[in-house]
C-alpha cells in the first residue's frame, strides 16, 4: 500500500478516537485489525499525529503481547496454553502445529498462509485444549485434530486461489 494511503488510513483511525493520547493502545489495536500487524510507517505516523515520542509508541507496541511488528499470515492459529489446557496436553498440540507447519511459535510460514501463536489463556478452560483459527474456536483438540484443522484452511486457500 502506498505510504500516503496508509497515512490517510491511520489519520482516520486516530480521528475515530478524538486524537487522544490516552487512546494509543486502542488506536494500535485498530491499526492491527486493519493490517493484521503494525507496519513501521503507521507507528511513525501515530507518533507524529498524537505527538507521542516514537520510543513510547514502540514501547507500547512491543510490551503488549497482542501486537505484532511482523506481517502475519492469512490465517492465524492460536493455541491456548492456559493451565487447564496445559495439563490436558496443550503443549503437544503446539508441537504438532510446529511440525506440520515447519515453523516455530510466533512465526509465519514462508508462503504467508499460516501464523502460529500461543496465548496465556482464552478462558474456555472446560473445553481445552483449545485452538482458535481466525476467530473460530476448536474444542478438545489433540494431535490428530491439528491435521484436520489445517487441512480445512489449506483447502479454503486453494479454493481462493482458483477463483
Amino acid at each position: 500500500m502506498p505510504v500516503e494511503a496508509e497515512h490517510m488510513k491511520v489519520k482516520c483511525l486516530i480521528a475515530k478516537h478524538n486524537n487522544e493520547k490516552k487512546a494509543l493502545i486502542a488506536i494500535l489495536q485498530d491499526i492491527q485489525a486493519e493490517y493484521n500487524y503494525l507496519p513501521q510507517n503507521s507507528l511513525r505516523a501515530v507518533s507524529k499525529m498524537l505527538d507521542v515520542p516514537l520510543i513510547d509508541v514502540i514501547g507500547v507496541a512491543t510490551f503488549y503481547r497482542a501486537f505484532s511488528l511482523k506481517p502475519r499470515g492469512r490465517h492465524v492459529a492460536t493455541v491456548c496454553l492456559g493451565t487447564a489446557c496445559h495439563v490436558r496436553g496443550g503443549p503437544k498440540v503446539v508441537e504438532e502445529f510446529e511440525r506440520r507447519l515447519g515453523v516455530k511459535t510466533g512465526e509465519t510460514t514462508p508462503d504467508n498462509k499460516f501464523t502460529l501463536e500461543t496465548v496465556a489463556c482464552l478462558g474456555c478452560c472446560a473445553i481445552g485444549p483449545v485452538v482458535v483459527m481466525d476467530g473460530n474456536y476448536y474444542a478438545h483438540t489433540n494431535i490428530r485434530k491439528v491435521n484436520t484443522i489445517l487441512k480445512k484452511y489449506a483447502k479454503e486457500e486453494t479454493k481462493n486461489e482458483t477463483h
Binding site: 496445559h86 478452560c125 472446560a126
Partner: protein, 635 residues
C-alpha cells in the same frame, strides 16, 4: 429487542420494572434456554439455535414456545445445553439434529428425550431436571444463577427479573454513607485475589477530597484457568454495570471504566452493548433518572499483558502507556487514574453489590465463614469429570467441590493435587482435601484464593512440570521493571527446567528455595511477590517428586520427555495399527494383529501413538526397568 425508551424519573423506572416483571409472568409459553457463551458457541450452540428456530417456524409454534439465548450456564462439560421451562428439563450436549425432536417431542408432546439427559459419572444415574444433577446440588448460584434466566443483549430481560431494582432502592432511599455501611456490614471482600474488604475501600475513596473520581471494573482476568469474569460479563453484563453505578453513587465518582481483556471478544461485545443500552434507557449519563447524580462508563481493552491485572499497571494501561506497576503508596484511592482518586474492583465483586443492596447486609453475612462472607465462583477445570463454573458458599471443603460437585477424576484415576489462585497460587495435595475454603485458610496452606481458578490434577500430572509451567508463564509476563522479579523468575525457571530435563543436581532445591524467598521479599508488585508460590508449594508438598527427577532421573508421572520413553505393552496390544498410522516418524513397526514395537531411535516422543491407542496399550515407561527395544537408543 424492543426499541429503548428513555426513562426520566425514579418513579418511571419503578413502573417499567414492575411492568417487565408482569410481562414475564404473563408469558406462559414454554422457554428453550440455550447457553451460548464462548464455550457454548465453540461447541456449536449457534447451530443448535438455528435448528430450533427453523423447527418452531415450520410448525408455526411461536405462540407456544420461545427461545432464550443466554450466556454460560456454568456446566461447561454439558455444552451446548438447553434448559426447558416450565419443567426445568435439562438436556446436555445437544446437536443441531436434535432440534426438531426437542420441539416435536418435548415441547409438543411433553416427552422427555432420554438420550439427551445427563448421566452422573459416579452413580451412572440419569438426571431429568437441572436440580437433580449432582453438579448443581451443593452450589448456591447467587451471582451466576441469573445467567440462565436472561438474554444478556436485552436490557428489558434484565429488568424483568428485577434488575436495576437495587439501583432504584439506592437512589430513592439511601445516602452514599448508607450504601458503604451496608457493604461494610455485609463483609464483602474483593473477589480478584487479595480479598481486601470492599466497604473499607469505598469508605477511603469517599473520604478523599477531589472534584473528579473514577471507578474501574477490573475485567483483566489474566489467571490462566479462571473464567468466571468472562462468564459474568458475557452472560449478565447489566448486573456488573448496576454494581458499578451503585458504587459510583456511594463514592461520588463521575466516570467509570471497564478494563477488559482483548482475548474475550464476546465479553467485550456484550458489555459494550449493555453500556449503550443503559445509556439509552437513562441509567448512565447526566442527571440520571432526574437526580443530581452524573455517571458514565467507558470500555478500555487490554492487549494481552498479565501484569495489567495489577491495579497500578492497569491504570497505566488505560492511560495508554506501558503497563508497568508503580510503588504504592500512594494507593489508587488517593492517586489513581490521571492522578485522581480511583476505586478498582473485580467483576465478581461488582456483581455481588446489587444483591447485597437488595437482600440486605444481614442476609448476606449469614452466608460463608467468620472472615469470608458470601459465595465464591470457582472455575473447576483440568482432570475433573464435571468441568464448569461452580458457585459455592465460602467455607465449603475442597473435597466437596472436587468430588461432590465435580464428580471426581475421570477414568478412575487418582487425585493428586488442586492448583488454586493461578500463577500467584499454589498446589494443594490430597491431605488438604478437607480444608474449608476461605481467604485465610488457603493462604495458610501456601496457596491463595486468587480469582478462583481451580485446576485439578491427577496422577498423570507432573508437579515439577507444573512448577516449570508457571515459572515460564511468570518470566514471560514479568514486566521487567524490578530486577528481583525479572531475573528471579528467569533463574528459577532455568533451575526447574534443568531438573525436568534430567540435568538437576544436589543443592538445586535449596538454591531454589532461597531464590524463591528473595523474589517474594524484594519484588515491587503482587506478580513478583507471589511468583514463588507455585515453586514453594510444590516443594512443600511434592518434594519427593523433585528428588526423583534429580536423584533417580525419572519422572514418576510420566510427563517430562527426557526422562520417559513410549512403549507398547504387549499384553494389551491388539495389533490394530492405529498407533502405527498415527506416528509421524514411522517409528512403529508391526503387522495387523501382531504386537507393535516402537523404535526408540526414531521416536520423537510426540505422544501421537498414546493418543491414538484405544486399548491403553501405549504407555510412558518411567519406573520399571526399561524394556530394551531392538535398535533403541537408551537415554
Amino acid at each position: 429487542m424492543r426499541p429503548i425508551k428513555k426513562i426520566k424519573s425514579l418513579k418511571e423506572l419503578e413502573a417499567v420494572i414492575e411492568k417487565e416483571i408482569e410481562l414475564r409472568k404473563s408469558d406462559t409459553r414454554a422457554v428453550l434456554t440455550v447457553s451460548a457463551g464462548t464455550c457454548g458457541q465453540a461447541r456449536g450452540s449457534l447451530k443448535v439455535i438455528d435448528s430450533l428456530k427453523s423447527a418452531i417456524k415450520k410448525g408455526n409454534l411461536e405462540y407456544k414456545v420461545k427461545i432464550r439465548v443466554t450466556g454460560c450456564h456454568g456446566f461447561c462439560e454439558a455444552e451446548p445445553n438447553i434448559i426447558i421451562h416450565p419443567h426445568d428439563l435439562f438436556y446436555q450436549k445437544v446437536e443441531p439434529k436434535n432440534g426438531k425432536d426437542i420441539v416435536d417431542q418435548t415441547v409438543l408432546k411433553n416427552k422427555v428425550i432420554d438420550s439427551l439427559l445427563f448421566t452422573d459419572p459416579t452413580t451412572g444415574e440419569k438426571a431429568t431436571r437441572e436440580s437433580e444433577i449432582s453438579f448443581y446440588k451443593k452450589q448456591r448460584r447467587l451471582v451466576l444463577g441469573d445467567n440462565a434466566l436472561i438474554d444478556p443483549t436485552d436490557i428489558y430481560d434484565y429488568l424483568s427479573i428485577g434488575g436495576y431494582r437495587s439501583l432504584l432502592k439506592v437512589l430513592e432511599t439511601m445516602t452514599p454513607e448508607n450504601v458503604i455501611a451496608t457493604i461494610k456490614k455485609a463483609g464483602l471482600r474483593g473477589r480478584g485475589g487479595a480479598g481486601f474488604p470492599t466497604g473499607t475501600k469505598w469508605e477511603v475513596a469517599k473520604r478523599i477530597q477531589g472534584d473528579t473520581k473514577y471507578i474501574i471494573c477490573n475485567a483483566d482476568e489474566g489467571d490462566p484457568g479462571a473464567y468466571m469474569d468472562r462468564s459474568l460479563l458475557e452472560g449478565n453484563p447489566h448486573r456488573v454495570l448496576e454494581g458499578m453505578i451503585i458504587g459510583a453513587f456511594a463514592i461520588g465518582a463521575s466516570e467509570g471504566y471497564v478494563y477488559v481483556r482483548d482475548e474475550y471478544p464476546l465479553a467485550v461485545k456484550n458489555i459494550t452493548l449493555a453500556i449503550n443500552q443503559a445509556r439509552k434507557l437513562g441509567l448512565l449519563g447526566k442527571k440520571i433518572l432526574g437526580t443530581k447524580f452524573n455517571f458514565d462508563v467507558h470500555i478500555a481493552k487490554g492487549a494481552g499483558a498479565f501484569v495489567c491485572g495489577e491495579e497500578t499497571a492497569l491504570i497505566a494501561s488505560i492511560e495508554g502507556r506501558v503497563g508497568e506497576p508503580r510503588q504504592r503508596p500512594p494507593f489508587p484511592a488517593v492517586r489513581g487514574l490521571w492522578g485522581k482518586p480511583t476505586t478498582i474492583n473485580n467483576v465478581e465483586t461488582w456483581g455481588n453489590v446489587p444483591m447485597i443492596i437488595d437482600k440486605g447486609a444481614d442476609w448476606y453475612s449469614r452466608i460463608g465463614t467468620d472472615g469470608s462472607k458470601g459465595t465464591k465462583i470457582f472455575s473447576l477445570v483440568g482432570k475433573i469429570n464435571n468441568t464448569g463454573l461452580v458457585e459455592v458458599p465460602m467455607g465449603i471443603s475442597l473435597r466437596e467441590i472436587i468430588f461432590d460437585v465435580g464428580g471426581g477424576i475421570p477414568e478412575g484415576k487418582k487425585f493428586k493435587a488442586v492448583q488454586t489462585g493461578g500463577p500467584s497460587g499454589g498446589c494443594l495435595p490430597a491431605e488438604m482435601l478437607d480444608l474449608p475454603i476461605d481467604y485465610e485458610s488457603l493462604t495458610k496452606a501456601g496457596s491463595i484464593m486468587g480469582s478462583g481458578g481451580m485446576i485439578v490434577m491427577d496422577e498423570k500430572t507432573c508437579m515439577v512440570d507444573v512448577a516449570k509451567y508457571f515459572l515460564n508463564f511468570l518470566r514471560d509476563e514479568s514486566c521487567g521493571k524490578c530486577v528481583s522479579c525479572r531475573e528471579g523468575t528467569q533463574r528459577m525457571w532455568e533451575i526447574v527446567k534443568n531438573i525436568t530435563e534430567g540435568c538437576g543436581k544436589e543443592g538445586d532445591l535449596e538454591l531454589l528455595e532461597e531464590l524463591a524467598m528473595i523474589v517474594k521479599d524484594s519484588s515491587l508488585c503482587g506478580l513478583g511477590q507471589t511468583a514463588s508460590n507455585p515453586v514453594l508449594s510444590t516443594l512443600r508438598y511434592f518434594r519427593d517428586e523433585y528428588e526423583a527427577h534429580i536423584k533417580e532421573k525419572r519422572c514418576p508421572a510420566g510427563v517430562c520427555v527426557n526422562l520417559i520413553r513410549y512403549v507398547v505393552i504387549p499384553e494389551k496390544c491388539t495389533g490394530c495399527l492405529a498407533c502405527k498410522n498415527a506416528c509421524p516418524q514411522d517409528a512403529i513397526r508391526g503387522v495387523i494383529r501382531g504386537v507393535h514395537i516402537i523404535d526408540q531411535a526414531k521416536c520423537i516422543k510426540c505422544g501421537a501413538c498414546l493418543e491414538a491407542c484405544r486399548f491403553e496399550a501405549v504407555d510412558t515407561q518411567r519406573d520399571e526397568a526399561i524394556r530394551i527395544v531392538e535398535g533403541g537408543a537408551q537415554r
